[in-house]
Symmetry: C2
Subunit: 347 residues, 2 copies
């Protein structure tokens, strides 16, 4: 009969290891950090004892005294957006390389629960925070930054309290226009991302480039969001409001998800892509690369952003820098088969 039914046994501590190896805890602790600093004989005894007991150092106890947990806290605004999946992949990979653990959390785009989520990461004593597209107010960001270094991703910031790394969304908007104009399009519409972070910049870039090309007359901007539904609704609105024959020959959506919504709305109306209308997205997520979709998109290298974020944070943690830093990455065009020159209408 088992003593306590299937209870998990007390896990071995550093003292257990020390006893079994016949040394003091200090020596065991030393071996953990720098085995060579311990005499060969003792070292081997300790190593053996650790293996026998399946000893696993307690990161909390260590964190308590070291005042550093080796954990990075990450807030993702949205688990279901593939962009964040790719971001976390980069993040995790880099963190592992640096031997850091990552604690994820999300607030589901709700400012209140985001604050709670951040609070929870802080209670766990994450050494630093990476906030991807947070919706909380800047005061909340500053409060967090008063406790640990904070890197904010993909959200333009006023405050100097946080580091900030973001894709140049305005440039992205311009690149989209350049691509379409280069193809010969003159009537171009944008289904924007609504109030989401970065949406405004993409729209401004789009508008500015259109203006510079003297294409304001044929420009349309309709409201959308960063979801498939948003793109669908935006495209429907476009279809509804445009006089026949003045329909844009190209549509640039705020992100890939929305672009897929646009695709659907157009196809439902019997329009062919890219023959009748060209469509572009943003993010170059795996959705865009699906053969069935094959969407021309603007790549903001989510994976790379994750890596940069970790590196900036670690730089701060190491005390190597104390002034805030703004990193702005350049998006790039990834042409696929959803864009093509417009059909010749009148020569």
């Amino acid at each position: 009969m088992k003593p306590s039914p299937s209870r998990h046994q007390r896990r071995p501590t550093i003292v257990d290891v020390a006893q079994r190896a016949g040394v003091s805890k200090s020596l065991v602790s030393l071996v953990l950090r720098d085995p060579t600093s311990v005499g060969l004989e003792n070292r081997e005894a300790i190593l053996a004892a650790m293996a026998d007991l399946a000893y696993r150092p307690n990161a909390m106890a260590r964190g308590l005294v070291r005042r550093r947990t080796g954990m990075l806290g990450v807030l993702l605004s949205d688990l279901s957006n593939p962009f964040f999946g790719e971001l976390s992949a980069g993040l995790l990979r880099r963190a592992r390389e640096l031997d850091l653990a990552v604690v994820f959390n999300t607030g589901n785009r709700d400012p209140r629960s985001e604050e709670e989520a951040i609070g929870s990461l802080l209670e766990l004593r994450a050494d630093g925070l990476i906030l991807a597209g947070p919706q909380v107010g800047e005061e909340a960001l500053e409060r967090a930054a008063a406790e640990v270094p904070v890197v904010v991703l993909n959200r333009p910031l006023e405050t100097e309290a946080c580091d900030c790394v973001t894709d140049d969304d305005e440039a992205g908007g311009r690149i989209a226009v350049e691509h379409l104009v280069g193809l010969g399009h003159r009537r171009i519409a944008h289904v924007d991302g609504g109030p989401g972070a970065g949406a405004g910049m993409r729209r401004r870039g789009f508008e500015a480039a259109m203006r510079e090309h003297g294409l304001l007359a044929g420009m349309h901007v309709v409201e959308g969001s960063f979801t498939e539904q948003g793109g669908y609704d935006g495209a429907r609105a476009l279809l509804r409001t445009c006089a026949p024959g003045t329909l844009p020959t190209a549509i640039f959506a705020a992100n890939d998800l929305a672009a897929i919504g646009v695709l659907s709305a157009l196809e439902e109306t019997g329009l062919r892509i890219p023959d009748d209308v060209s469509v572009m997205g943003y993010d170059n997520s795996f959705l865009a690369s699906l053969r069935h979709v094959s969407l021309t998109s603007i790549d903001q290298d989510a994976d790379g952003l994750g890596v940069i974020a970790v590196d900036r944070l670690v730089e701060r943690l190491g005390g190597g820098r104390s002034h805030p830093v703004r990193v702005v990455t350049r998006p790039t065009l990834v042409p696929r088969s959803s864009t093509a020159p417009p059909r010749k209408e009148s020569p």
Copy 2:
């Protein structure tokens, strides 16, 4: 001139709060757990002090003495698969409801790095582990289970050391066949998931149902994988090997991603969906629901699986159960527009 340039100030401890409120640490500790058990006057003084200092309890210190961290460790086999995105959403939501933090990690489907990832979660002293589709050997699972309760998701298990919750993939395979046969299909192919967890069961369900319907003659099974590429390659193989006129009228892919690959391969050949060929996926991920895709799929309720996993784990943690449990959920059919009756060829 700042004392130490932009260093983060020492964070207030329970002692700081106690001093400021003019009481002992114990009282502060009490207020943290049950405010009503403390005299009104002191309680208010303590609450005020906490607010003034922006005090945040140190979860590590607490965890050290309580022998419980309130953290759940979660291993995801693949960040980029939407299935896991939806799973984590359910997981996180339920965990938050129960006031538990979640620590994510991944081993990128590599057994060795998965073991490391699990080790890291264990060092952080996660109270329990949820492993979604792990690739590690059963001994590794047993070793982990010796330290904390472990719930394994979507992987059939021999060992009794872990709880195990999984979708009934074999039933899923049968459901797919029933749906297609009900529509009138007789020549049906399956692009399988290769060596991935659950792939074998789906295939077996498919084969069994085909046999029961006496459809073995028109059955094809080709190798694929849980990726778009796998589906694409599988469908190409099918197209290549089938004699003209004997091409299956329906294809069931191992998951949605693969189904999208199948879609692409068929479309490239000029085949129309569902007019020429019906296509089904598995997972009912958001991919399937994209209007542009609109894929009939088998739903295994990823979100719900996440909830169940947390609940099972918590049940163990509470000591409410010590024998292992197997939860098998029933998948359901979600019909969309990628399946339809086959074209009448010969009446």
